[in-house]
Point group: C2
Chain length 567, copies 2
């Protein structure tokens, strides 16, 4: 009461001393109501009905628990979006529509990509061409020894996560199909194309035939000089490939990137070191980023997105991740030490190079059980179901298979096929015995993204594993597919049966941990929800069972606020 | 654009020709903004920050699908409740709080009753003392031959629904424990208490010993007179009990009710007729309601809530169901024909009489398999899983058991115990063979409210069946409980395991038809949701497993808008 009386006082005070809307109401003789507080007429409203309605403040009691300030106009009550935003987790923003401000209310923030054609195992992988795996925060950097991303998601020191490696490769495979062909310029191949190296006194370069590589290479030796450099023409291409080995114990290849606006130089070096990435802050306030080549006396074939390489150093130097790609160019290269260089190439992109880096990593790191063991502990549901290092992920297996079978399809190289086929082995082994196969109530097999005991039944990972099986089925020679058909059919059968358990009537759950671990349902955030839908839509192009489209349609409708009916 | 230009035109027109807020803005020289439409200053707002903010109309684009009219004030956007109400199915109403108008936002409309003591099988049944089964729309009337409600829920012609019969009895049992003791006045018992009957010429009353009833009764014979009447003192008690049989082929007992305001007389008659209820509209615009006594030559023991009896006639006469109980009184009684009357009693209530009516009905109508067959077809999910007439309901069995074991506890009569024990029989028989027992994935037994094939796994009905088993376990002699313990334990085990499947993260599903029939989830409306909670809270007083309270707490939180976390 005290509060309201104060308001009244304030109201009267303003009314007396100033020429305002309020005094107008008094002086022009149109008092709108006997209400004492906060009343306006909305005279100019567009709709005749609302003209002359009262606009006032009103307290809203929310479930009898607390109050918020609302507005009232006639019989309509208006609720502040800042409340709804949190209460319902709905999204909104003010935008301009043809010059007029409007408010965009969005039930979800995610998108569904409706497929227009039947899924093709040799084509793009889902909508992965939109993915930029390497720029994700949880990617520490692209390893210079392995050519694949290093994850920090579950272990800050970094590790190779097969799912991420496969996604990196699949995204570049897909970009290769969706992007325009890259611009590509060979700078030095030791033979036909030669670069104009600036060789200081005491240093040397020569081109000769290498009997290990069966090709001409550039041999360099900087001796005691500051290094052999190559000035590059101004250009926007930032993907550099090269083959490099050192004959000396130490050596480096440094790319000097220039931020054209700030006239700052950022050196990115590839050095003889076992350290993945190392940032050196200089006293002058600048820094340099070093990538370790490991045993640099062997030939290293590198494909580097220098923007990504620089950003990762930028982040590690504590400068954040904002470094616009469009403002960077390569200023010059500098080689130190004694070694050999070949196929130095600058391109606008090299998606296939990155794709094969992933494929090769998967071939190198597959174990004898066909699995790609994951070297970090994974805690599910705050430690209720842990996975000790060395676990396999059905999703990792499936995505690796999707990638490897594409590598086989593109290259014809049988070792990719063999790895893809071997990747199926953990699907037949129980998750209680180190495999990825679980059963829902001992009846429906499920390939586990996280093969916890009890099982967690993650939906999106399971479907990715089914897509991997389907890709193998589609592209491997028929007489070599082994269990792929059986595993795929069993999985599809389980999927169709258990899909409804993921339906909350207004969204989806990410997994069935509420059922197996007795926890609260683990609601899928909108991007996982739309992943579920995108996956079902993909499957619906290869399996005509109406349950896939029926459920996908219902789940799509949830994204704009529809709900399943209540009784 | 055209629409907005029109608005601008209108705006300018108003500005020129009339003394309004708008002209004020122009003439007093405080244009608030360059916006062309619908702008106000909120000068008198209580908070200093919001003072001087603009209040304007703004279009809200809802999920890019349609637009609604919102309001904007500073950076805050206000959304009309009339939109939110439908979009989110949330509830709101304008109320007064200490004289000030406020708006009450309610996430749900239902209530939870937190138990304060351990559940007692001989005590009140849940919160059924709040139930008024007989006044529900789907109750046609209380049968005068059976003394229990007749349902029209799934068949308009009416049928006895064991679940409803049991709920009627359990609600009166509970009311008997919660209400103050009834006022009760015996009007005539043929012996010690005698009423002042007005016996017209040619008619007769006498009191004599009845060798069938082993008591004195009133024998009446109206012969050709208009009937023998009894004028009653003005009072508010409307529950009339009497034992009646006719020695003639026809006869009636009519109670004349009076609406004190309107001075209208409403006759309610109990007549020799097989017709359940019959309403006779008179030419004068009034009507009378007749209840058939069936074979009226046998003794009928009736306990009638005359308000309910009248309301049901009122509804059937097409006059709606509004007939205030507080305005009714009994004016007089009239008997016609030749017959016997005993124990004529007027009371404020007779809950135990009604309770035993239910118990007796259940004893009379139990079949040799221990079931209470339901004589109507039940369609589940628009015909996808139908139950043909004659099906049993585990909920009906359970609630009947809860009622019968209380009747045994109160009366000591063994036939109630026997019926309660026999009621368990369908729990051990598969729903595919006419029983109520289904299995979730062949592993977890479930007692089906609707024993469809495939099963529907209705949650609340299952829990009611468990409570019935528990009541039998608690009150039946230990050496006679048979399978009750096993059935209860198995059921509780299933319940705890499957409960999470009913959790949507923001509410509950009523059943698992989405899983078994592949339909959309059947979301439980808020009253069923609160029933789920109330049932779990009851069970938590007899079973200390924390899963019951954990889930109940989570489900309670959903009622005020909380949701399970998303990942």
């Amino acid at each position: 009461m005290a509060r309201l009386n104060l308001k009244l006082l304030l109201f009267l005070l303003i009314a007396v001393v100033s020429c305002t809307l309020v005094t107008y109401i008094f002086t022009c003789g149109h008092p709108t109501s006997s209400h004492t507080s906060f009343i306006h007429r909305l005279k100019e409203s567009s709709s005749p009905e609302s003209r002359g309605k009262l606009y006032e403040e009103l307290l809203c009691s929310i479930n009898g628990m607390y109050h918020i300030s609302c507005r009232k106009e006639g019989r309509e009550v208006f609720i502040p979006f800042s409340f709804l935003e949190k209460y319902y987790e709905v999204y909104g923003k003010l935008t301009k529509n043809r010059g007029h401000e409007q408010f965009e209310w969005s039930h979800s923030y995610s998108k569904v990509f409706k497929p227009t054609t039947r899924y093709n195992s040799s084509g793009m992988f889902m909508y992965f061409s939109n993915y930029n795996v390497e720029v994700r925060d949880r990617v520490k950097c692209i390893s210079a020894t392995e050519g694949v991303p290093v994850s920090t998601q579950w272990e800050a020191s970094g590790y190779y996560y097969p799912v991420q490696v496969a996604q990196y490769g699949l995204s570049h495979y897909s970009k290769n199909l969706s992007d325009r062909p890259p611009k590509r310029k060979v700078l030095e191949d030791g033979n036909l194309v030669t670069a104009k190296w600036q060789v200081p006194k005491g240093a040397s370069v020569k081109r000769n035939y290498d009997y290990e590589k069966f090709t001409h290479v550039l041999e360099f030796n900087s001796h005691d000089s500051p290094g052999i450099s190559l000035k590059l023409k101004q250009g926007i291409d930032l993907v550099l490939s090269f083959d490099l080995r050192f004959l000396s114990m130490n050596g480096s290849l440094t790319i000097f990137l220039e931020d054209r606006d700030r006239s700052t130089i950022f050196p990115v070096s590839f050095v003889c070191s076992p350290v993945l990435i190392h940032v050196l802050n200089s006293s002058a306030g600048s820094y340099s980023t070093n990538y370790g080549l490991g045993s640099c006396q062997n030939w290293n074939q590198l494909t580097r997105d220098l923007h990504v390489d620089l950003v990762k150093g930028h982040v590690l130097s504590g400068r954040g991740k904002k470094l616009s790609k469009t403002k960077l160019r390569i200023h010059h290269l500098l080689i130190k030490g004694h070694g050999q260089l070949d196929n130095l190439t600058l391109a606008s992109s090299n998606h296939m190079g990155m794709f094969y880096s992933s494929a090769d990593w998967l071939v190198r790191h597959q174990d004898s059980s066909g699995g790609w063991p994951i070297g970090v502990k994974r805690k599910i549901a705050s430690g209720k179901a842990d996975l000790d290092p060395g676990w396999y992920s059905a999703m990792g297996q499936g995505q690796a298979m999707s990638l490897l079978i594409r590598a086989y399809y593109r290259s014809g190289e049988s070792h990719y096929l063999e790895a893809a086929l071997k990747g199926m082995k953990p699907f037949s082994k129980s998750s209680t015995e180190g495999g990825v196969r679980a059963y829902f109530m001992n009846q429906y097999p499920w390939y586990e993204e996280y093969p916890t005991v009890p099982p967690s039944f993650v939906l999106n990972g399971f479907i990715y594993s089914l897509i991997g099986l389907y890709d193998v089925l589609s592209l491997a020679p028929h007489d070599q597919v082994g269990d792929a058909q059986l595993l795929f059919d069993q999985g599809m059968h389980s999927l169709k049966k258990l899909l409804p358990l993921f339906d909350t009537g207004s969204g989806t759950v990410y997994d069935l941990r509420h059922f197996t671990l007795g926890l609260a349902p683990n609601i899928a955030r909108w991007d996982y929800h739309s992943t579920h839908i995108n996956q079902l839509l993909l499957l619906s192009t290869i399996d005509s069972d109406p349950i896939l489209t029926t459920i996908a349609s219902r789940w799509i409708s949830y994204m704009s606020g529809k709900r399943a009916a209540h009784n």
